[in-house]
Symmetry: C2
Subunit: 475 residues, 2 copies
């Protein structure tokens, strides 16, 4: 492989399909000036995410300001059949942003304007680089909020692209339910708008939902219209310790089956609590715990929490410990969100290999129990936590990236957990996406339907330039 003229980085991705065209870089520099970079630091930063997948650097990074800028990048790259990879903050965990075939990374961070907030209609339109925290800060005085909360302060574009969810999904749904419309740059650089601001529509194929979760492989999301919610009149949060993971899970199952509109319902196993205590300087009892949050009117919140406390008590749960003040709640949820980095610190220098299955709630206790047997037998520390109100849980497996045996063991464990979930009617990924890591599992889960997905990919991106190698195998 020759190093193209004008490129300052020493080692373009080794799996680049073709040498990176110097003419393309020149054309990008002409249009974008200092908003295109090939610095080593930038390529390194944009060639990795939070996963354990090895770094794969792009050849250049462009920082568009507008949808037209994104369209121009895609058109230019299309002329040379060079991949384009959209990049938010790099918080994905299945290698979504890795430039495994090289190409141009489109960093959306400058497209960070909140374009419209329609308070009366409970919706907002944002550029794809706006993060969820930024949006909620912007909404602060409106009495509204955007509930989807995957932990990381991800961009809303990235969250839409991976069909993200997180702690609030049990009540408010996932990005699937909360994206109303999109502006999308297609593989030929043309721009479409999907969906709209009406609360419902039967007008044609649901391209919005097709794009949500397509991980940048069918189009690049540049603007997103989102559903907002009134800030609840009352919010209360509590933690509750249990004698076993099983007792905690059974409490959740009964809560959901009773139709309690609980907003958040998170399980953390004892090891996760230990990590969280250490990381966030808390002193929670090191036992399996549920973190619960209730939203509604004062009366409704009291009623919900009474119901859940009763269920928990019957199953051996201790008394709820309440976080009533806003600061206490913020601290509690920050600790929950920091479970991932906290767990990583259990074995400093290690990388985290994360699993992400989701099963029908009737099978959740069984699925977690069998998985706990795997954890006990593993050679490394493994933390278990998750959004159990949805039937979704994660393992964080701490692996030494320089030890192939660790990686092999983690992959074998992941395989076992995914196959178990599929056998129980579940999915190989509740919220992380397919990315690079789950192509085989997508086949196992969806069989012949994957051919339909591939046919759609080939129709919308015939030259496979949009984030190639993710969701659908490159051809």
């Amino acid at each position: 492989m020759t190093t193209p003229v004008g490129m300052s980085h020493p080692a373009p991705s080794s799996s680049l399909r073709n040498p990176f065209p110097a003419e393309l870089l020149a054309a990008l520099r002409t249009r974008f000036g200092e908003r295109v970079t090939t610095s080593s630091a930038a390529l390194e930063h944009h060639g990795k995410d939070e996963s354990a997948h090895p770094i794969a650097r792009p050849n250049a990074v462009v920082f568009p300001d507008t949808t037209e800028d994104v369209s121009a990048v895609v058109k230019l790259c299309g002329e040379y059949s060079v991949p384009v990879i959209p990049f938010g903050v790099g918080s994905s965990v299945e290698g979504h942003v890795l430039a495994v075939h090289g190409g141009v990374c489109i960093d959306m961070s400058r497209m960070n304007r909140v374009l419209a907030v329609n308070v009366e209609d409970l919706d907002a339109t944002v550029e794809a680089g706006v993060t969820r925290k930024q949006l909620n800060q912007h909404l602060h005085d409106t009495g509204l909020f955007f509930p989807i909360d995957p932990g990381a302060d991800a961009t809303l574009g990235g969250m839409a692209a991976t069909r993200a969810s997180g702690t609030n999904a049990v009540r408010y749904g996932t990005m699937k339910e909360n994206v109303m419309g999109l502006t999308v740059v297609l593989a030929d650089g043309s721009v479409i708008r999907t969906g709209g601001r009406a609360r419902k529509s039967s007008a044609g194929y649901d391209l919005t939902r097709l794009m949500v979760g397509s991980e940048g492989t069918l189009g690049i999301l540049t603007e997103i219209t989102l559903r907002l919610y009134p800030q609840p009149e009352a919010v209360s949060a509590a933690v509750c310790a249990f004698p076993s993971v099983d007792a905690a899970v059974r409490t959740v199952i009964q809560t959901i089956q009773l139709g309690v509109p609980i907003a958040r319902c998170e399980l953390l196993d004892a090891l996760t609590i230990k990590a969280v205590n250490r990381h966030s300087k808390l002193s929670l009892r090191e036992a399996p715990m549920l973190f619960c949050e209730f939203h509604g009117t004062q009366a409704s919140v009291e009623e919900q929490s009474r119901t859940v406390q009763e269920i928990a008590r019957e199953l051996g749960g201790l008394d709820f410990e309440w976080a009533t003040r806003q600061e206490e709640r913020t601290r509690l949820w920050q600790a929950r969100h920091d479970a991932y980095p906290a767990c990583r610190q259990l074995r400093p220098g290690n990388r985290a290999f994360s699993t992400d299955v989701c099963v029908p709630i009737s099978r959740l206790a069984e699925c977690i129990a069998e998985t706990n047997d795997d954890i006990v037998k593993a050679s490394m520390p493994i933390a278990l936590f998750g959004h159990v109100g949805d039937g979704n849980f994660h393992l964080v497996v701490l692996i030494d990236p320089d030890n192939p045996a660790d990686t092999a063991e983690a992959e074998a464990l992941n395989h076992r957990v995914v196959m178990r979930a599929l056998k129980m009617g579940g999915t190989c990924t509740g919220e992380h996406g397919i990315g690079l890591g789950k192509l085989d599992f997508l086949d196992a889960e969806h069989g012949a339907a994957v051919q339909v997905m591939a046919a759609i990919k080939k129709t919308l991106d015939p030259n496979n330039i949009l984030n190639p190698g993710k969701v659908i195998r490159s051809w």
Copy 2:
């Protein structure tokens, strides 16, 4: 056009693309025996829906028992490039089931088994010919129910295919939110399963949502996994009369903006109430009315209804009249559901031309006010009612089908109402679908995105045999 051998009906559809192949009919008869018919009565019945579109008969009707049967019909028709049109109960209102290019109607009525109810997971899997009332009767003793309720006792397959909603959508969403997975027969006769039973998934492209609302043009839905809900502990319903449509609409807008989780919130104008009184033998005050229903715990229901009553009073609404007993509620909602046939009786012998716009709720009062000006000027009776909690409302325009001036006036009115809704950020159809009648409006609403829809249609159905002429223009 020659009449094919072996066909007993006198006049095949005049727009049949090609003469109907005798060999195909013979092959269908060999496989399906008495489950294929070409009787005049059957062709007539299967060539029409509830819309004002003229009848377009299929050439034959087949009654499959299984997904494999459907696959066999599609494969056979594919060999001859003959259209296949799925048919539920014929309650669609945009000509979805009309055989405008002739072909074989697939009547799903024998595929009416409830295949599984998972009480613990709050889901059920049904064959596509199961109707919503049948499902709810089946669920009667489980404590669960399926909320989506378009009025007609439609099949769940038809409801999924048109992305239907109805009175409960304001709280429970539409078919988009409540279909978890599908079994689909594709244009080549192959069978895929989409989605699954996990409450959320990020595994690949959302083919479920692509199929929901595709009106039989991308595949034929044969099995559907649906989300169920616990029957609320308490239900209360009330009607409230207002001095004006505007006052009623403003009450709804404030209710939604406050985040009151109202389950149903329906507007009926004075003419609709008059029609409903006559049809359902009620004695409601002939004024604009809201029909409201509240679901929740006893305390929550009381709180919700108190809030809405207060808003209504401030806007000039009279006192709520309660329907507390189940029988009263059933009677009330049956009357609401019968608004469509009731309005048709306002001018016996006429057909109903139905509009179906949906706008962001902040524009609803304005949209309805301007539309009321149109109604006043019209030469025929026009009733206005709808699911105003979603921003969705209908006009029922009563036209003499033998008077072209009536049709022209209704179409002009529809055009004006749709364009008004689009200008306000709304959609040309909230819940009825595109069918035959709204192809131009789909272009007006979605512009270049319609080309993406057409590209997907051509990829999944290259010979255009799946319900041709609906959603996407035939090519």
